[in-house]
């Protein structure tokens, strides 16, 4: 098992992480002036810096043009119709109950009672599934894989409100799916088109009753189907975009689906729920396996490139679990074929590491995890922890190896400019010199951090790198201890069916 005490010390606070070379993360003063020995390796990456000024915050959207007009009170019935359209029955009841002297007394009282009944029912429902009582904005903030987001679309559509997720369709280069408050918008953006602001006519609206707000989208890697999920709807929808047909994959427990992740080979899908259970769907016959976790919901997960291993974290636990799906189950039709138990592969609990400048605390819960497409680097975005770096989220970088045995080795800490914290991380889908980590910092800067190594997936595409760099040693540069290997480590077993053998203590994870 890997623990954070073996991590190399973080760089000085005024340095930014520029790239990885020879198994070490190289830092510099800022992004614009890389060190001279890096010049030869420089790849032409687009520099993006989103300043916050042109971005309108949602707060400003509220008082847009409304204040320019004289307030006019509509009649009660008109307001009721509007409320019906916006919020349904409860909106009408609310409107009637709050009206003064416009309706009969008894109507007002009756609607007040009905409203109370509704609220009581909703609270009962909400006590079963607490996340349902959140407002939709909070739902999105709770379940999105982005920290502290303010997303403002430059594509405009009447229905494009409260965007929670975006997904480009693979193998099409022009189709973008947007998860909105009430629907999914499919934008077809022709890259050859001259218009920079496509009209809303380019968008295709996909909606399904009971399926809002949509917070997660996942395209199948071969570009055929789109999955969408909502924390309110227990069913995952499989969409055929072209014919606009959808098939719900129903499941009556769990109360909703918060996060969908398709394995890179397209064979399985991870679907997490707001309750302490997650499911793995098999993408041919669409059967699923259910995995109860005892302590909390599954926060995030990532698939290995061959789709045989799933790493996931559970809310409230500083641990990374691994779940294997053996290869031989691939031909079996309609079987997920997951292993019986999940193993703990990394312990991210808070520890103190020694740095030249003194002690430093590191660790906490993971917020999101991404695995690079070649399966050699794993980046973990931690949750903000007030005792660690003044509550700033930290990006931890691991080296991984998937075959013949799974290994997880610490690589380093990715640091941004002073005062900036990471909001979102992702890997480039096909970077042929290693892996390219893209970090969205809170300052609006999109930083690309190339991690140079000999990529097992594209060995033929990196002739230049092979000349200048010897392949990395197996054990890693800074620490030669294999921190987690499947052969050595004995982790606490975790049975998905019973779920009772959850017996580990955090201290036992430290080697």
């Amino acid at each position: 098992m890997c623990s954070l005490s073996l991590f190399p010390p973080s760089p000085p606070w005024d340095q930014v992480t520029l790239y990885e070379y020879n198994n070490e993360l190289v830092t510099g003063d800022n992004y614009e002036s890389p060190p001279p020995d890096f010049r030869g390796q420089w790849i032409n990456l687009p520099v993006l810096h989103l300043t916050k000024d042109p971005l309108k915050t949602p707060g400003r959207l509220d008082h847009g043009t409304k204040t320019a007009f004289i307030h006019h009170r509509e009649s009660i019935w008109k307001r009721c119709i509007n409320a019906w359209r916006d919020m349904g029955v409860s909106g009408v009841l609310n409107e009637v109950a709050n009206s003064e002297e416009e309706v009969f007394k008894w109507v007002k009282t009756a609607s007040g009672w009905a409203l109370a009944l509704c609220r009581w029912g909703a609270s009962l429902h909400g006590s079963l599934f607490p996340h349902l009582s959140l407002r939709s904005e909070d739902l999105i903030a709770e379940f999105a894989q982005v920290t502290n987001c303010t997303i403002v679309p430059s594509l405009k559509h009447r229905l494009q409100r409260n965007v929670a997720a975006l997904a480009w369709k693979p193998l099409s280069a022009s189709v973008l799916a947007v998860a909105c408050q009430s629907c999914i918008l499919i934008w077809t953006l022709d890259p050859n088109s001259l218009s920079t602001r496509p009209s809303s006519g380019c968008a295709q609206v996909l909606s399904h009753p009971g399926h809002s707000p949509v917070t997660s989208l996942a395209w199948s890697p071969n570009g055929g189907r789109l999955l969408s999920a909502s924390p309110v709807d227990a069913a995952v929808l499989v969409w055929d975009i072209s014919t606009e047909t959808c098939v719900p994959l129903p499941w009556f427990r769990g109360g909703g689906v918060t996060y969908l992740l398709w394995s890179p080979d397209g064979s399985k899908v991870l679907a997490t729920t707001p309750s302490a259970v997650f499911r793995v769907w098999e993408a041919q016959m669409w059967t699923c396996e259910r995995w109860p976790t005892l302590s909390g919901r599954c926060q995030t997960g990532c698939w290995s490139p061959d789709g045989n291993r799933l790493l996931f974290t559970v809310l409230g636990e500083p641990l990374i679990y691994s779940l294997t799906f053996p290869e031989h189950s691939r031909e079996g039709k309609g079987q997920v074929g997951g292993a019986k138990t999940a193993t703990i592969v990394a312990d991210l609990s808070e520890t103190t590491i020694q740095t030249p400048n003194g002690e430093e605390r590191l660790g906490g819960e993971a917020h999101s995890m991404v695995w690079d497409p070649s399966g050699e680097r794993l980046a973990v975005l931690m949750k903000g922890n007030p005792r660690v770096r003044h509550g700033k989220p930290v990006i931890l970088l691991f080296r991984t190896r998937n075959s013949p045995v799974f290994e997880l080795l610490p690589c380093g800490i990715v640091q941004g400019e002073p005062g900036a914290w990471a909001q979102m991380i992702t890997f480039h889908p096909s970077f042929n010199k290693g892996a390219l980590l893209t970090v969205c910092w809170s300052t609006g800067r999109i930083a690309h951090i190339p991690l140079y190594f000999v990529n097992a997936q594209f060995p033929r595409f990196s002739p230049m790198l092979c000349r200048t760099q010897e392949p990395p040693a197996g054990g890693g540069g800074s620490t030669h201890v294999p921190l987690f290997t499947e052969t050595a480590s004995i982790s606490s077993p975790w049975d998905p069916s019973s779920g009772t053998s959850w017996s580990h203590s955090p201290s036992s994870h430290l080697q």
């Binding site: 099409s172 055929d240 072209s242 606009e244 129903p250 041919q284 309609g334």
Partner: protein, 824 residues
Amino acid sequence: MGVWRRLSRPPPRFSSVAAAASRPFGKAPSPGCTERVGERVALRPPSPSQLSASLLRGQGLQVPSGTARRRRLQLPTGRSRGPRPRGGSSQAAPRAAPSTSGSSRGPASFERLWRAGNPAPAAAAAAAPAGTMASASAAAGAPAPPPPPPPSLPSLPGPGNARSPASLERDRLWRVLGWRIATSVVWSVLLLPVCTGAFVFFSSLDVLHPVQWVSDALHDLYGSCVLSSLLLLSALVIVISVFNIEFYTVVPSIPCSRLALIGKIVHPQQVMHSLVHSAMGMLMAWCAAVMTKDRYHVLAVPCTDADSLESKAARACLNEHHLFLLLAGAFMGYSYSLLYFVNNMNYLPFPIIQQYKFLRFRRALPLLLRHSAVESLYLLRNFCFLYYFLGYIPKAWVSTAMDLQKDEKQPPLDSLSGLFDLSLLYHVWLCGVFLLVTWYTTWVLFRIYATEAHAFPVQPMFTGDVEECLPRVLNDNTPLIIKYLALQDLMLLSQYSPSRRQEVFSLSQPGGHPHNWVAISRECLALLNDLTQRLVMYQEAAATNGRVKPPSSPVEPKKPIVMEEETAFQTPKASLMPKALMPSLVKASLFSPKFASPDTLNPVCSPYGDSVSNRAVGIVDIKSPRHEGPQSLQSPQLTRRGPRLWTSLTDPQSNGPRSPHASPPPIRREAQHKGRGPPWKLCLWLQNKQEQVKSFLAKRVLIVYFFSKHPEASIQAVFSDAQMHIWALEGLSHLVAASFTEDRFGVVQTTLPTILSTLLTLQEAVDKHFKLPHVSSRPPRISGSLVDTSYKTLRFALRASLKTAIYRITTTFGEHLNSLVGFK
């Protein structure tokens, strides 16, 4: 026949002819060809040696290369082992035949025919004369004089010309679909008691006395009338299933104008369907009335008149409620049939993801219930209107026919007060829901079972299974549903099954030919080329706005060459296709050969046969060597297309499936006429006249109303069978992408340039097509309905999957595409 004999001569070069022979014969030959083979084996030869000789001849046609020679030596030994004359022939023949090449179909098809038909030689005898007739007529058109038929051939004239291929098709259909359909019928019969129980339960609804209600309902359930009506209902459900089976289609028929819609409704088949359905609806309603009891039980009730107490027993009055229920049933049955066709509910949409049948049924169930309840409500409303205005006719008719009197005490039902009877309306509504739920359940079950994926073996396990394996099924002239299932299976195996992909890429065991891959890719490419051609034709028609253009001058024939060994697959060099020439090339490559079609083509033999015959005979073929690649693929269809006569222009896309194997001989003949010259003027004159009549008619409003084509519908009609092309695209692109790592022998690489150029040509045609008016606008979407409207947007699906297919191949191969031979 002449073709076959000619090929059987020792060819000059073995390898080239092997390639040429294996390719065109793998394509679906005409029924005549099939029968000829069947006939040869079906002869019941008196001695094994004669049989082996005829088999040898069959072998010699096929693979004259070294492998075949080796097999020739094997054959007699194999024969000698099997002394049974008939069983031995049907078993030894497929063993000797190569696994996928064309003529092995002969014995196997005979065997199928043998198994399908009566063991009595009736089928064989019917097949044999048909074969001889076809061969004789084919030979008449062939340039070479036909060799005399073998002396053992019985030359009886047979009436069953179309029988044996039809029975072959039916047999294959039954093998693939039979069990499923039977299971779906069984399930719908098994679900009937559940529906009936629910109906009885709800029909005796009594909210005020719930305990009594439940006990009454339970008591009724075991009553004799419920059980006996269950028998009748089961029979009705079976009849409904038969209608579903008879009327299903995988290609939706889209009426392009209002007249076509009306014609669809008054089509005799449809009228029969409607009549039978209304009769069945009446029967269902009668069952429902019997089960409901109460006052709906019988048609004749004793009168309740107060003044005629003494003659009460003698007088019988009409029970109008019963009549109302029966008529409502008939009306609902008729409406079901009408909506069935108007909404294209006989169209089988294939599911977008594979799921287990139970899950699919469970998913459809709430939708079905809701749809039935709502539709029953609408139908009830319509029926009430109808009865209010026209109800007196059946009432008078029945009462006079059965000598029933009118009950004066009861209010007549064709009045407002009589109709506003909540109990009556509820029962009629419930009866309608019962009817629709039962029928829709049958329909949904049939749909689920028929569209379930079927795994065809890629390579036959045993020699007898050759007919069932995927390359054969794809290439044969199979029923469309089987072709759809085969293409769906191809798509699934290319995505999910590495071991079956390996079989596709494998080489044939003796000989080392990639027969599986060649057959599969050829069929997919033929499909795609067919679509390209159809799109270009549609665009031409749209560009000329339906007007007639004088035929353009023929493309200047390039230097004639003798084509004996060039085929698209075996020689990738032949399919050189400069990218810069692409736009003009689409048309040039698509339409040049039609002018070059020689008059000597025999019109009866298969469309694939003629190009083969030309090639094999050594006729000078006028085709540019540069365009050989795409042409040799497309030429069979293109020669069929003929010049742009007004017949083919004004109706550029025929409704419904355009089977690539259905050849329209009239156009061909006209093509030949035209090539000779004289009827030109007549043709022009006719065209002018037609134009004048058209312009005269176009001014009449009513005619315009009926004849005007809905643009959206005609666009949909072009893409009505696009699901096939989508699967072909997905299967092909996934196979090519998988071949990057899995194809050990490089069999895909020989075809890759052709595949890419086909895809790009199609992409260009599709791009052009989407620039036409109305094409790129989406029809409004109806969500959450039982009626499937996915066929209306198939063109978008095709565009998306075409783009994805091209991207999939190019991203997988990356920069290696630059080193492809023949594709720049």
